[in-house]
Amino acid sequence: MPNVSTNEFRSGLKLIIDGDPCSIIENEFVKPGKGQAFVRARFRNLRSGRVVERTFKSGESVEAADVLEVSLQYLYNDGDLFHFMDEQTFEQHAADAGAVGDASRWLKEQDVCAITLWNGTPIVVNPPNFVTLEITETEPGVRGDTASGATKPATVETGAVIKVPLFVEQGELVRIDTRTGEYVSRARE
C-alpha cells in the first residue's frame, strides 16, 4: 500500500501501526514554540480493538492499510474456517476463529454480516444486530406465564445458550439482540 503523509491524516483513515491495521480516532497538530511540528494521533487497533497513541513528525509518511468494510453472507463452517460470500460477485472469503470471535455464537447460514477485510482477509466479523434463531433445547414451558418476568436457559440452533421467558417452547423461533446476547421477542419466520 502507498504511504500517507501526516498532512492527510483524518479520523477514519486506516494505517499500519506496529504491523497491525489501525484506524485514526483523532489527530492533533502539536508544535513546541520554535521547534519541529508533530502530529499526535490516537488509533484503534482493528484486530485487538485497543487504543494506541503515536506521534509523528509533521510531513512524515506512514504505510496505509488496505482495509475494507464489506457485507458478506455467511455460508458454512467447515470445522476450522468460517466461509462467507459476496452476494454480488459471489467471491468467497474464509475467516478464522480469531476473526470471528464471539460472533460465532450467532452465525446462521445466509445471514449477512459486516466484515472488515485487511488485504482481502477477514479480521473482524460482526453479526447482524438482530438474529432469528430456533430454540433447540429448553425446559417445557409454563403456559400463560407472560407476566412474572422469570427466565430459564435455552439453547439455540447455533449452540449459544440464552435466557428466555418461561413461556417460550422448544422449536420456537426467537429474536435476539447480538450486541447484548439478550432475548427480544418470539418470532415467526
Binding site: 502539536v30 513546541p32 520554535k34 521547534g35
Partner: protein
C-alpha cells in the same frame, strides 16, 4: 461560550443536508466561530495592552505584512502572495526582521500588534494566520524582559504568581534526563517510550528534545505562568548564546496552564553570527529537499550598522485571549478561523 449568541456548531444530520435547496445559501455557515463575548474580551485586552505600552513609553509601530525576504528557520514555512506583474512577496511569519531594522535605525523601544502567517499550522492552538504582540526593549536582557512580560500580564489579566525554570531543570525534574548532556541513544529511548518512533523518523537531537518538551515536559508544568529559560544553544534561533559551561541560549518561553504563549530572546547582535545561523538553516532546508529562502540582506545590513543591545518577545495574542476567557480552542476566540474565513 456566549450566553447571548446562538452556538455555531449545530449538529447536522445527513438527511437535513440533503433537504437543503441545492442553489440556496441556507446551509452556508456564515456565523463567527467565536461568541461575541469572546470578541469583546479580545477588544478589551487589545486596549489594555496598548495602554500598558503607552504608559511605559514604548512606541507602537507598523511594518509591512508583505516582505521581499522571510525567515530561514527550518521549522517555519512562509506563505507567498503573487502580484499581477509577476512579483511575489512573502507574508510575514512575524514582524521581527522589520522591527529590528527600526531598532537599528534608532527607534528606541517599540511594540506592534499585527497579523502573522505560517503555512501548515492548523490545530486546536494553531491557525494559519494569527495575531502577534511583539515588542523590543532597548537595554534589557531576557530576565528584565520576563519582568516586563509579567507586568503586562498582571495589568491585562490580573495579578498572578509566576515561576522561572531553566530548560535543563525542567527536563531533569519531569523526565529525569539532562537535555544538554544526554546521549543520542538516551534521547531516542526516551522518545520511543513516549509514542514517537524517533529512530524510524530519523529525528535529530533537537527534534527529539522538541518531542519530549511537547509530550512530557509541557503537560507537567502545571497551572499558572511558568517561564522556561536558557534553551540549548542548538535551539538559540536569534537569541544570544552565553558561554558555558554549559553553553546555553538566552531565550525563554512562557507557558500559561501548560500552553506556550510567548517566545523571547536576549537578542543576538553580531551580524557575522546571524549570517552563519541563517546559512545553517538554509543548508538544513536544502538537505531536507525543502524550499530555502535567501537570507534577508536588509536585516543583515541593519545588524552590520548596529542593533542596539535589547531583548524582544512575541506573544501569541489569540492564545492569550483564549486563556484569559477560559476557552479551550483558538477557534473560540477567532472570529473566522481558517476553515471559515
Amino acid at each position: 461560550m456566549s450566553a447571548s449568541f446562538p452556538p455555531r456548531r449545530v449538529v447536522m444530520r445527513m438527511h437535513e443536508r440533503a433537504s437543503e435547496p441545492a442553489s440556496g445559501r441556507a446551509g452556508c455557515d456564515w456565523r463567527p466561530s467565536a461568541g461575541i463575548d469572546a470578541l469583546r474580551l479580545r477588544a478589551r485586552l487589545l486596549r489594555a495592552a496598548r495602554a500598558y505600552f503607552d504608559a511605559q513609553g514604548v512606541m507602537e509601530v507598523e511594518t509591512p505584512a508583505l516582505g521581499a525576504a522571510t525567515v530561514t528557520d527550518p521549522s517555519i514555512e512562509s506563505l507567498r502572495a503573487n502580484g499581477r506583474t509577476g512579483r511575489s512577496w512573502y507574508l510575514q511569519t512575524s514582524p521581527e526582521f522589520a522591527m529590528k531594522r527600526l531598532l537599528a535605525a534608532g527607534s528606541g523601544s517599540i511594540y506592534q500588534i499585527t497579523r502573522a502567517f505560517r503555512d501548515g499550522e492548523r490545530g486546536r492552538h494553531h491557525n494559519i494566520e494569527f495575531s502577534i504582540l511583539e515588542w523590543y526593549r532597548v537595554g534589557f536582557d531576557h530576565h528584565r524582559l520576563i519582568d516586563d512580560v509579567d507586568a503586562l500580564l498582571d495589568r491585562i489579566l490580573g495579578s498572578r504568581p509566576s515561576s522561572r525554570l531553566t530548560f535543563r531543570e525542567a527536563f531533569l525534574r519531569h523526565l529525569d534526563l539532562d537535555p544538554l548532556t544526554a546521549t543520542t541513544v538516551e534521547l531516542h529511548d526516551a522518545c520511543e517510550s513516549r509514542g514517537f518512533a524517533s529512530r524510524a523518523a530519523s529525528a535529530t537531537r533537537d527534534e527529539c528534545l522538541d518531542h519530549l518538551l511537547a509530550a512530557a515536559v509541557q503537560p507537567a508544568l502545571g497551572p499558572g505562568r511558568v517561564y522556561l529559560l536558557d534553551f540549548p544553544a542548538s535551539q538559540a534561533a536569534l537569541a544570544r548564546i552565553r558561554n558555558g559551561p554549559p553553553e546555553v541560549a538566552e531565550r525563554f518561553e512562557l507557558y500559561i496552564d501548560g500552553i506556550e504563549v510567548a517566545n523571547g530572546y536576549h537578542e543576538l547582535r553580531d551580524a557575522g553570527e546571524l549570517h552563519g545561523r541563517m546559512r545553517r538553516d538554509i543548508e538544513t532546508r536544502r538537505c531536507g529537499g525543502r524550499p530555502a529562502p535567501a537570507v534577508d540582506a536588509r536585516l543583515l545590513a541593519a545588524h552590520e550598522a548596529g542593533l542596539p543591545a535589547c531583548a524582544g518577545v512575541a506573544v501569541g495574542f489569540d492564545r492569550l485571549v483564549m486563556l484569559a476567557g477560559g476557552y479551550r480552542a483558538l477557534r473560540e476566540v477567532l472570529a473566522f478561523p481558517e476553515d471559515a474565513a
